[in-house]
Amino acid sequence: MPEILPDFLNGLLLPALVPLGLTFKVALTATAGACVLGLGAGYALSRRSLPGRELLDAVCTLPLVLPPTVIGYYLLVLFGRRGVLGQWLQETFGVSLVFTWQGAALAACVVAFPLVCKAARTAFEGVDANLEFAARSLGAGEGSVFVRVSLPLAWRGVLAGTMLALARAMGEFGATLMLAGSLPGRTQTLSLAVYEAVQAGRDNEALFLVLLTSLVCILLLLASGKFLKLSPNT
């Protein structure tokens, strides 16, 4: 037993910490972005006065239904070295998203965005319109109505969507692979590392990474369930 432990540490656990840390970095960044964008888009889509909102809703839902490879291709066309936005980023800021962890985060963000957006739209539409009317007639401007009435009444739904987005971002594979590749230590997240290990026939490593990923996801689900239940009723 004492001889196996160092082997386990050096052979499996320590190498796995790199993709694990990277997964968290990428997923949390992506979730933060998806949360802010999804909140705004969901609120806008919940307004009846928004012109063409069902079309916009369909566009916002697209990343949920398109194959990840298609999203990855779009992102490459947009943010690749010869892409419109990619060239602009390169010329203005001197950065490229291809083969970087920021690129992986962008891909995960796009894929996770619809989950926040959908949940936020439903939550904002669930807010009694009379309450927003009441706030307006009491002198509140649109921003104030959002901060003081709509958001406090809808935040639970938005948070639930954000949790789903985090889970989705952690499991992101296809779009990330297309835009950021699978560079160990740079862009190789857990899901990519599992694929690599299986392809290379490193079965022990693959099994360990799979178990580790499952464990992390279970802990995340337990935490989010507890967090959502403990929060005060509104």
Binding site: A134, R136, S137, L138, A140, G141, G143, S144, R148
Partner: protein, 252 residues
């Protein structure tokens, strides 16, 4: 309060449609819009409050134009300076009684209350005997208490006029009679004129004043009485008799 109103609004929901075409002028401490359910009273009130923009027409309150389709003028609800009490009260469920009452006094994006606003809230809660419930959430209140909170919230900003949308219909009959008197005396104490919507003749008897009769989206008649039951024989009972004697198409 002097209200001059001439508005048109068409609502469509699938095959059914509703057309409101209301035109009247009324003046006094109390104006009552009376008519059966679905006769366009609430729509009129929402237009006055600025929650609904009519398709055409003009609304003038105390000589100030609030809406004019011809000029493209539509004063936003927050700048109209009218208080509104909703039929279901529409209290903010995530805020305490005190925060509900003080909502309209808040400044800035987050609605911070300064010292004067806080003391105004304390004063108002005291006036309605709600001091002990200042920190309670609306879902813990009884029907009458909710109504008082909704009333105080609307009155806190010292509005030019108070608009009440069937305020007593959700209460049981005994409480209804008491709240009617309470609302009236509170509005009189604060000197706020009222525009009340109702389909209950008892409300008309209590509030009296100028009665506007609605039927099927049209104003049928405007009759001026003295305000309230203190008006003697010509006051409340007369107004009540008028609405009871009227034949509304909705009732056959």
């Amino acid at each position: 309060m002097a209200l001059r109103l001439d508005i048109k609004k068409t609502l469509r929901c699938g095959s059914c449609g509703f057309e409101l075409s209301a035109c009247f002028e009324a003046e006094g401490r109390s104006i009552v819009l009376f008519g059966p359910s679905g006769s366009g009273k609430t729509l009129t009130l929402r237009a006055v409050a600025g929650l609904m923009a009519p398709d055409a027409g003009r609304i003038e309150l105390d000589g100030r134009c609030l809406f004019d389709a011809a000029q493209g003028l539509n004063v936003p609800a927050r700048e109209r300076g009218v208080g509104l009490v909703f039929q279901d009260y529409a209290l903010f469920p995530h805020l305490s009684v005190a925060a509900n009452v003080g909502f309209g006094l808040g400044r800035g994006l987050f609605g911070r209350l300064d010292r004067a606003a806080r003391s105004r809230v304390v004063e108002l809660l005291d006036l309605a005997g709600l001091t002990g419930l200042a920190e309670a959430r609306p879902d813990r209140l009884s029907g009458g208490q909710r109504q008082r909170v909704a009333l105080l919230r609307a009155l806190a900003r010292s509005p030019r006029a108070l608009l009440l949308d069937e305020p007593f219909s959700a209460l049981d009959p005994l409480l209804r009679a008491r709240m009617r008197r309470e609302v009236r005396s509170l509005c009189q104490a604060l000197g706020t004129p009222t525009l009340l919507i109702t389909h209950d003749p008892e409300d008309v008897a209590e509030f009296g004043g100028t009665v506007v009769l609605y039927d099927e989206g049209r104003v049928r008649r405007v009759a001026a009485f003295r305000d309230g039951p203190e008006g003697g024989d010509e006051g409340g009972p007369g107004a009540c008799a008028l609405v009871l004697g009227e034949r509304f198409s909705a009732y056959g």
